[in-house]
């Protein structure tokens, strides 16, 4: 049975419920705590292995240790590497203050620090990709996640520019859209996603979203108290432009530094207005033709 989301024009209720799942498990998600990411890319590898995602370039990009550049049809976990001047206030400049709480990998002596972050599909509460999919290939699972049904997708590509995070892509070879499934197959048998399983530092944490949100609040408070004033949560609550994410992050700098949009808004939120204007403009076509003929009445004979 395929379950398609109701038109994503409203927020609020649990996404699985909104999609028509009468009974469903709690919403599951990821909390990616980038303050303990060591850039090992085990998540990238585990994801490829488990999901049989094809190789998509092992190039030297010149972007620190980043080989995969960004999320795409064939990169469902992407580790970003940022080499930057540590801010004066950031305890990353001082090994002691970072201590247990921070685990900062940057070299303190030269004032540089190294930020690493494993990016993934956000499994938005209001998912643009799912809203615009014309075939019903993208669906909301009972876990509240968003997956592509490959046997339904006709490769129209609409989901690709609809995603405010640039997550989903279309593969050249098979013509279909692909992205992270939050390991739907593993979730179904009570296992955690491959990336979270492989993560050696628990930077990637998997669990019921409510629990993760509490854990994240506690973690960011701890970091703040330890002097890491640059620690912040991203997409942690339901008040943002996507109704909150199923996969959210603890970051040490502004989102755009990691390649993430600072204030994403799903375009479907303004779709009612777009339909209104499209309707008015369509009526305008009729009016234009009418005007053209009214003025021409005398010219017929």
């Amino acid at each position: 049975m395929s379950v398609t989301d109701r038109p994503g024009l409203t927020g609020g209720a649990d996404p699985a419920e909104r999609a028509g799942w009468a009974e469903h498990p709690p919403r599951m998600g990821f909390f990616t705590d980038t303050s303990v990411c060591i850039g090992c890319k085990a998540c990238e590898v585990a994801c490829k292995e488990w999901n049989a995602v094809p190789e998509d370039g092992l190039t030297l990009t010149g972007m620190s240790f980043d080989n995969t550049i960004g999320l795409s049809a064939s990169t469902w976990r992407h580790v970003a590497f940022i080499e930057q001047q540590a801010p004066e206030s950031a305890p990353g400049r001082d090994r002691d203050a970072g201590g247990d709480a921070g685990g900062d990998a940057g070299g303190a002596e030269d004032g540089l620090r190294w930020l690493m972050s494993s990016d993934v599909c956000k499994h938005c509460s209001e998912a643009g990709c799912l809203d615009v999919c014309p075939t019903g290939a993208l669906m909301r699972t009972e876990f509240g996640t968003v997956v592509v049904q490959d046997d339904v997708c006709n490769g129209c590509g609409y989901c690709v520019p609809a995603c405010p995070f640039g997550v989903i892509g279309r593969r050249e070879d098979d013509g279909g859209a692909h992205k992270c499934t939050l390991c739907y197959d593993r979730l179904g048998v009570g296992m955690e996603p491959a990336c979270a399983k492989a993560c050696p530092t628990d930077s990637i944490q998997f669990g019921p979203l409510d629990e993760l949100r509490e854990r994240a609040q506690a973690r960011v408070s701890d970091l703040q108290e330890a002097g890491r004033t640059d620690a912040r949560l991203y997409l942690e609550g339901p008040d943002d432009g996507i109704g909150g994410a199923g996969a959210f992050f603890l970051l040490l700098d502004e989102p755009e530094v990691y390649g993430l949009p600072p204030d994403p808004v799903v375009s479907t939120r303004s779709l009612p207005r777009m339909w209104k204007h499209a309707g008015l403009a369509a009526a305008g076509v009729g009016a234009m033709v009418l005007t053209a003929f009214l003025g021409s009445r005398t010219d017929v004979r």
Binding site: L9, G155, P161, A177, H277, F293
Partner: protein
């Protein structure tokens, strides 16, 4: 923050990053990326944006050229031509009616073929009709097309062959009722994306498309209809061209600095060429009442202008997706306002909730 920080801001103040290679673009809103050399410290801070190695935040549309702009143009031509053709039939202008119906059939055929050809898996085009989703302009459009296409086809075939005239009338009426929707749903389709230039223009885009479609249909009428019946086509061409030009001006005025993708580079050149041709076609249509050749040339100019508009709008969207500042700068401003004012700023909050 220094422009020389590695990793955080390669798109600014250096000529080497991926975005730095994009020459010839203006500063946005009088700010945007500076024109400084690498490592230069600005005394007055420019509007900075930070990004991940100048990489795009969103994905550029995978839709191909010329498929998708052609789909937009021919769909618009078809939809407006159906209305023109039906009105011509109603007012006893069989030549203009036939021109409208033929343009509709030809236009919607090319449009549909272009759309299917652009699919990653064309053999599955019928999957579009598995579901109906108001939240997907492409789904709504597919259903409109699946009703409109056969109606437009039947109207034209009945007119050309003379068979089943009653069914032909019904099909003509049906196509005329659905035609306007065919011309404007594609505007909602483009604007319902995260592509900044498209999404931010969602208020004006349907009117640009409507005007562009009307001017193309009028232009085709001028080209194909007998001269004694062409007056309504001439007037439709003029009205449509005026609406298109006005809506585009309003778009640029409201977007101000954010209209840059529409004004620079290849997209800007396409749109400017379109505007010039629209202006020529508009004037030509008004002045060529006694000249068959002049009318035909004006009609051709308007058809070409309508196509150029669609190609230009398509390209502007791609550019605005390709360079991260178009995504990051407006969002950063909004986030800063919302964080500072705890959403006292109605404008920023309205964008987030979709009311703006």
């Amino acid at each position: 923050m220094s422009a020389s920080q590695p990793g955080t801001n390669p798109a600014r103040g250096t000529n080497s990053g991926p975005a730095g290679s994009n020459g010839g673009r203006h500063a946005r809103n009088g700010r945007g990326r500076g024109s400084g050399r690498g490592g230069e410290q600005f005394m007055v801070p420019r509007a900075e944006f930070r990004s991940y190695y100048g990489r795009p935040v969103i994905k550029e549309p995978v839709w191909k050229e010329p498929d998708v702009p052609a789909y937009l143009f021919f769909g618009g031509l078809a939809g407006a031509s159906s209305v023109l053709g039906a009105a011509a039939q109603l007012t006893g202008r069989p030549g203009l009616a036939r021109a409208g119906k033929v343009a509709a059939l030809g236009g919607i055929s090319v449009s549909t073929v272009a759309l299917i050809n652009d699919l990653g898996r064309p053999a599955r085009f019928h999957h579009m009709l598995r579901v109906f989703k108001l939240s997907s302009p492409m789904s709504v459009g597919s259903w409109i097309l699946s009703a409109y296409g056969p109606a437009a086809g039947a109207a034209a075939l009945s007119d050309l062959t003379g068979i089943l005239p009653a069914a032909g009338v019904a099909a003509t009426a049906g196509a005329a009722l659905l035609g306007p929707a065919v011309t404007t749903y594609t505007a909602a389709l483009l604007c319902d994306t995260a592509v900044p230039a498209w999404h931010e223009a969602h208020r004006e885009m349907p009117y640009v498309f409507a005007g562009s479609a009307a001017s193309a249909a009028g232009g085709f009428g001028l080209l194909a209809a007998p001269a004694r019946e062409a007056e309504p086509a001439r007037r439709l061409a003029i009205i449509g061209a005026a609406v298109e030009l006005t809506a585009k001006k309003l778009l640029e005025r409201r977007l101000q600095g954010r209209a840059e993708p529409y004004q620079t580079g290849r997209a800007g050149a396409l749109l400017r060429a379109g505007e010039i041709l629209t202006g020529c076609g508009l004037a030509g249509a008004g002045l060529s009442r006694r000249s068959r050749a002049g009318s035909a040339a004006s009609g051709l100019a308007l058809l070409a202008a309508s196509a150029l508009t669609r190609f230009g709008i398509f390209e502007a969207g791609r550019i605005s997706a390709r360079y991260p500042e178009y995504t990051i700068v407006p969002q950063r401003e909004r986030r800063t306002v919302l964080e500072a004012g705890t959403r006292t700023d109605a404008d920023a909050a309205a964008v987030r909730t979709g009311r703006r």
